[in-house]
């Protein structure tokens, strides 16, 4: 009795949340906005953007990537990337997955309840550990902040705005780190957490092509986005990417998705082309 009540309550919530935009099909001119690829975008934002692009490719939905310096401010939630579809603007992977599902495309419909719970749990693991570690490295590690982050974040703006915005963002991120208990962590501890997370992902993936065997899901998109970005971004040292390289099945996983969903679609050898 109670389980049916719970299911009914759940479906009511879902109907309430995705009521509009459900009827129209996916248009040809859907666009994804992110920061400038060459000079501005940071590791964590690049990972998020790549995850969304991978997800949409897996759903076979066309998307054009547009780079704008003020993408962060254009976004309804302040986070990148966001997509502009018809007259709807949706940001972040979670809401985008819901939005796409309302239009009738889903990668996780074939999973049973237990698998869906596992998928959500692993997505939280990636957000909890990998994303937080990326933010820590970018904004709380003095070497990286000085050499890379500060300059990149403020690059589209004139002096003194570039410094002010960068400091403000750094303060915000440090405050958040402190609130979740990462304020006192050293870089070594953070790298160890990354290693633990990669080990868990590697063990879960095992020898399968994707996390839920034959078909990719949003979890595969999210993991690909983060791992690929970590592997291909030049930081002050290679410690972060070395942690990922320790796990050969994760490397094979990234290569497989890159080949299958990015290179094969004629997007060029350096995987993502943007305008």
């Amino acid at each position: 009795m109670s389980k049916e009540t719970v299911t009914r309550i759940n479906s009511n919530y879902q109907q309430y949340r995705v009521s509009d935009g459900a009827a129209e099909p996916w248009p040809e001119n859907a666009t994804l906005y992110q920061q400038l690829k060459g000079e501005q975008i940071l590791l964590s934002d690049n990972a998020a953007s790549l995850a969304v692009q991978a997800f949409l490719q897996m759903c076979n939905l066309p998307i054009k990537v547009v780079c704008r310096a003020n993408a962060e401010y254009m976004s309804p939630s302040g986070k990148v990337p966001f997509i502009h579809v018809g007259n709807q603007v949706v940001s972040e992977l979670g809401p985008i997955v819901q939005f796409v599902k309302a239009k009738g495309h889903s990668l996780s419909d074939g999973l049973d309840e237990v698998q869906k719970a596992e998928m959500k749990a692993y997505m939280e693991l990636v957000n909890n550990m990998l994303l937080t570690a990326e933010l820590y490295l970018q904004w709380c590690d003095e070497a990286t902040v000085g050499e890379i982050t500060h300059a990149r974040y403020g690059s589209p703006y004139p002096w003194p705005l570039n410094h002010i915005l960068a400091y403000q963002k750094q303060w915000e991120v440090k405050r958040k780190m402190k609130a979740i208990g990462w304020g006192n962590k050293t870089l070594d501890q953070v790298l160890e957490d990354v290693d633990q997370c990669c080990q868990a992902l590697s063990q879960r993936l095992g020898t399968q092509p994707y996390f839920f065997n034959k078909q990719p899901t949003e979890l595969d998109a999210l993991v690909f986005g983060h791992l690929y970005t970590i592997l291909t971004t030049q930081l002050t040292n290679d410690e972060l990417s070395e942690k990922v390289k320790n796990y050969s099945n994760l490397l094979a996983f990234c290569r497989r998705i890159e080949q299958h969903y990015f290179e094969d679609r004629g997007k060029g050898s350096s995987s993502i082309r943007s305008s």
Partner: protein
């Protein structure tokens, strides 16, 4: 292993050995792994620190934070995850992340931010266990810390106001409870017949929510509908904590 392991933590009530989630996680893990812990409940004398509770003290080590304490216990050969496969170990990490991201904000809100609950239940309970004049300051500080954590991790624009964040965090918490219930199914514990780290974490976060009597109870009501999770908490309380119920 000969050195005594002492745990400082918040005490119990409403049938629980502790009403503080993190303390409860450590206590449950110690019971599951057979670690001999001497529990020092914080009372309103000036003895002991109240800062980063729970804290584990041995002869030459002081360890705080549940994750680090559990790691320490494992290194001392008190390992409740001995029989888990590699995949199950990975699942443990993932589900703990799920609980921390989706359930914890709502639990913090129920205990520390919701004003009816905070002023009638939480604050008096904690204040009675803290010596004056700290009892005037510390609960308020813990409440602000909880609110801060919720707003900083969830309250990004456009959800500036606490009201809107509230709706979202309770929705997420209910979904998380449903997911945990689906995963547990009809099993005794999450991985077979013996309890492990994940069981300790789920118990630690769910039991206070289940047992403490609050005026505003929407999350508690939802939890009570998931009978397998309630049965899970009751089973652990009866099997592992029966002796300490007498002085709860």
């Amino acid at each position: 292993m000969a050195a005594p392991l002492e745990l400082s933590c918040w005490g119990g009530g409403w049938g629980l050995p502790s009403v503080h989630s993190e303390s409860l996680v450590v206590m449950a893990y110690a019971k599951f792994s057979g670690a001999p812990l001497k529990v020092n409940v914080i009372d309103n004398t000036w003895r002991g620190s109240r800062g980063d509770v729970p804290i584990l003290t041995t002869e030459d080590n002081i360890v705080s934070q549940p994750a680090k304490i559990l790691n320490f216990l494992r290194k001392q050969k008190y390992n409740a995850d001995y029989e888990l496969s590699a995949k199950q170990g990975a699942d443990t990490l993932a589900y703990i992340a799920l609980i921390e991201e989706k359930l914890l904000p709502a639990v913090l809100h129920t205990f520390w931010v919701e004003s009816d609950n905070y002023f009638t239940v939480t604050k008096p309970w904690f204040a009675s266990r803290i010596p004056f004049p700290l009892s005037l300051i510390l609960p308020g500080r813990m409440s602000k810390g909880a609110l801060n954590r919720i707003l900083l991790t969830r309250g990004e624009p456009p959800l500036y106001h606490l009201r809107e964040v509230e709706a979202q965090i309770y929705r997420d918490a209910k979904e998380c409870l449903n997911l945990l219930s689906n995963r547990l199914g009809t099993s005794q514990f999450f991985f077979g017949d013996t309890p492990s780290t994940l069981d300790a974490y789920v118990f630690g976060f769910l039991a206070p929510l289940y047992k403490v009597r609050f005026p505003k109870v929407q999350l508690q009501e939802h939890l009570k509908q998931l009978s397998n999770l309630c049965r899970f908490c009751d089973d652990i309380l009866n099997s592992y904590f029966r002796l300490s119920l007498g002085d709860g």
